[in-house]
């Protein structure tokens, strides 16, 4: 059971990373207008080659 002493801290680190990524994503508006790209075809092309 001593392995817990390593596994628990590892899981804590993973969760902390996951939480940090999630908060970053929300703050950078990654979850807003999730259907926006569906409407992109109606936009005029910028004229630049991709």
């Amino acid at each position: 059971m001593e392995i817990l002493a390593i596994l628990i801290p590892i899981s804590i680190v993973f969760i902390a990373i996951a939480a940090a990524i999630f908060v970053w994503a929300v703050n950078h508006k990654q979850f807003e207008q999730l259907d926006k790209h569906g409407f992109d075809i109606f936009e005029e092309d910028s004229g630049e080659e991709p």
Binding site: M1, L4, I8, I15, F22, E32
Partner: protein
């Protein structure tokens, strides 16, 4: 040159504004930048070559967090809630995983040291959930206690606080039970419900959507060309340019002979409208054709759409009083819940002390009357939003309830059932002194003073300069006519045969023009019945409502219209007589809806149980009607009745479901028959179900044209 609008939430002071201004003026492709500190917006005029993203990054590098303009306040709240929910979710997963180990450990006799370790791990993961995610519950509960009331969040906050502190004590002391799993689950599920409801509620928001149709900036035309300005800076008399595909920023008149406009935002009608020179253009409507120039007639906050938004806001203020009512329910309900929870706790102490706390927590969480309090407001707001989309504005949210009692609809004829602008079909002249153009000119100049629908028939008359004359002492007699005195002292009258002193002929519907004591002309005026009037009347009848024409017009005219539509009529009623007719019906127990054109009928409208007005153009605010029909379609009256009935059904369903939920869940929880997770899930679903049921109203279909 193109325009772009940035919202900069963290621009608080003029120093910030100055910094942004300097940053932007350093970029060559930016021509002007106009900053509005109050709205925290920056209006930028820039070359097409410059992408808005580059402007964003420039402002960002100056130390701000700009966004391309949108509904920023709601978005920020939404993001905050999403973060709390996400953290609660992650925390919940971990606590649950540990909880499984702990449950398993109970059966396989885990060593106490590992049990303590796992408890500490749960504490570690539950702490951010309580201290970050659950904060809205705590702040709201504390706020309500401070204002000496108890709101819905009090029992929830109490449950979370009790469960967490008990568990904390047990963890530190190493004895007793922990409830971390309940804590995180309450928080996650209730936050989830709140997140979903906030999203639904945003869809219901009536007025914010209306004004969001208005652009923030406009192109002002002057001798040197076109310049970008904020809409706030436009004044009456300015000339502006509306580019292809843009929304019109202010009310005004067209300077272009052919303009194609989509007015759906105002009228709910999807048909395009063509406008010519001098035609009125309304703020918020969409230019579907090529760009055009227009002259501004009113400031942006005096536009028709702003008036409508104000009227809709009025109803929302009343809406707020409904939510105050539910708060009052909560004030009675919540103390009862707290007492009930305490009694549950005390009784379980005698029966089985180990289950006392979990039973108490369950009662606290399950008995929140959230669903009950949301039942009515959710349905009302959803209905008002849907009505708004169909071009019907409620200025009084109680009207929606009253409509269901209405069994009689009085319809004003002129301007309501018939087309608003009648036309002159024939002119007879009786005098050798005045030819037809001269008579028409006299009539038209006098009729300018009248608001009556028939007067509009003369408004389009062309008056040649030699027929120009001035009137003094003009008096308007509603329903009879207009009289005025010329500079040579001769009185000119236009109106009914009785008013002008013409010989009365039975069945005569002409308008007479009298010059002194001589009748000099007779005009035939007709207005056609609106094409959808019969469809509207038919669908009203299917609701069991009797439509009746109530008009000041002559018997013959009313009879003709009434026969066409197959309904009863009351003719030759002055406004006073109309009011009396309504009073008489009301004393017989009828509930009456009066549909008028909103200007001539103000006292009558005020007397009816529900008043509705058809609005063609101005005078929106003057009318005291409960309901404004903005579209030119009469079938929207039928839509109104249908949605009012649907709203009643949804409200009753919601109330029944919420009451049933609370009545079954509370005893089950008090008896310890309901696990805490089910309580939280039930609580969350009960309120979400109410919101979802209400949102059905958003998809109510309009009456089809016949």
């Amino acid at each position: 040159m193109t325009l772009c609008t940035l919202s900069v939430d963290d621009m608080h002071c003029s120093a910030c504004a100055g910094k942004i201004q300097r940053t932007l003026s350093g970029i060559n492709s930016i021509k002007t930048a106009h900053i509005n500190l109050v709205r925290r917006q920056v209006f930028i005029e820039h070359d097409e070559a410059l992408a808005p993203l580059d402007i964003l990054s420039a402002v960002e590098s100056a130390g701000f967090s700009p966004a391309l303009s949108g509904n920023t306040e709601h978005d920020a709240e939404h993001r905050q809630l999403l973060k709390r929910l996400g953290i609660a979710g992650l925390g919940m997963m971990q606590v649950m995983m540990v909880a499984i180990a702990l449950y398993a450990g109970d059966f396989s006799h885990m060593e106490p040291v590992y049990k303590d370790l796992l408890n500490f791990v749960s504490l570690l993961f539950a702490t951010p959930v309580v201290c970050y995610s659950a904060v809205p519950f705590f702040t709201s509960a504390i706020g309500s206690i401070r204002s000496r009331g108890l709101n819905m969040d009090v029992p929830i906050a109490l449950a979370i606080a009790i469960a967490f502190s008990t568990s904390l004590l047990a963890t530190v002391s190493g004895t007793g039970d922990v409830y971390y799993d309940s804590v995180v689950m309450f928080t996650f599920l209730l936050l989830g419900a709140r997140y979903i409801n906030a999203g639904l509620q945003h869809r219901f928001d009536v007025s914010s959507k209306l004004l969001s149709a208005l652009p923030a900036n406009a192109w002002r035309l002057d001798s040197t060309g076109q310049h970008a300005v904020a809409v706030e800076d436009l004044r009456a008399g300015d000339r502006i340019w509306v580019a292809e595909g843009e929304r019109i920023p202010v009310d005004g008149r067209s300077e272009d002979p052919q303009v194609v406009i989509d007015e759906a935002v105002l009228s709910g009608e999807s048909d395009w409208v063509e406008k010519r020179i001098e035609d009125r253009l309304y703020a918020g409507t969409l230019n579907l054709g090529k760009g055009f120039a227009m002259s501004v007639t009113a400031r942006f906050d005096q536009s028709r759409i702003a008036d409508i938004a104000r009227l809709a806001d009025q109803a929302e203020i009343q809406q707020a009083s409904i939510s105050q009512l539910t708060d009052r329910i909560a004030r009675v309900f919540i103390p009862a819940v707290l007492v009930l929870a305490a009694i549950t706790g005390i009784l379980w102490q005698f029966v089985d002390p180990t289950r006392a706390l979990s039973a108490t927590l369950t009662v606290l969480v399950v008995s929140c009357p959230c669903a009950l309090s949301l039942a009515t407001p959710a349905a009302l707001t959803a209905a008002m939003t849907r009505l708004r989309q169909l071009g019907i504005v409620l200025t009084n949210s109680h009207a929606l309830e009253t409509i269901n009692t209405v069994d009689k609809v009085y319809l004003d004829k002129t301007g309501t059932l018939t087309a608003a602008t009648p036309s002159i079909t024939a002119t007879q002249t009786f005098s050798t002194e005045f030819d037809e153009p001269a008579c028409l000119a006299l009539a038209a100049q006098l009729e300018r003073y009248s608001n009556h629908a028939y007067a509009k028939a003369f408004h389009s008359t062309n008056i040649s300069p030699r027929h120009r004359s001035r009137f003094f002492g003009v008096t308007v007699k509603t329903g009879e006519g207009v009289s005025g005195i010329l500079s040579n002292g001769i009185e000119v009258r236009i109106g009914t045969a009785a008013f002008t002193g013409a010989k009365k002929i039975t069945g005569d519907r002409g308008i007479y023009l009298a010059f002194g004591s001589d009748i000099i002309a007779r005009f035939d005026i007709t207005n056609s019945i609106r094409p959808d009037a019969s469809a509207a009347v038919t669908s009203l009848k299917t609701f069991g409502i009797t439509p009746i024409i109530l008009s000041g017009d002559s018997r013959e005219r009313c009879k003709e219209t009434a026969a066409n539509l197959g309904i009863a009529f009351l003719a030759r009623h002055t406004p006073e007589a109309k009011l009396e007719a309504i009073r008489a019906d009301q004393s017989k127990g009828s509930h009456v809806l009066m549909l008028g054109d909103g200007i001539n009928d103000v006292p009558v409208l005020a007397g009816a149980d529900v008043s509705a007005a058809v609005m063609e153009a101005s005078d929106l605010v003057k009318s005291k009607a409960d309901i404004l029909l903005l579209s030119r379609k009469l079938t929207s009256l039928a839509d109104l009745f249908r949605i009012a009935r649907a709203t009643r059904t949804v409200t009753i369903q919601n109330l029944a479901w919420a009451t049933a939920y609370n009545l079954t869940a509370i005893p089950l929880a008090a008896l310890g028959l309901m696990p805490p997770w089910l309580a939280a899930l039930g609580m969350a679903t009960s309120s979400t179900l109410v919101m979802l049921n209400a949102s059905r109203l958003l998809s109510a279909q309009p009456t089809q044209k016949v």
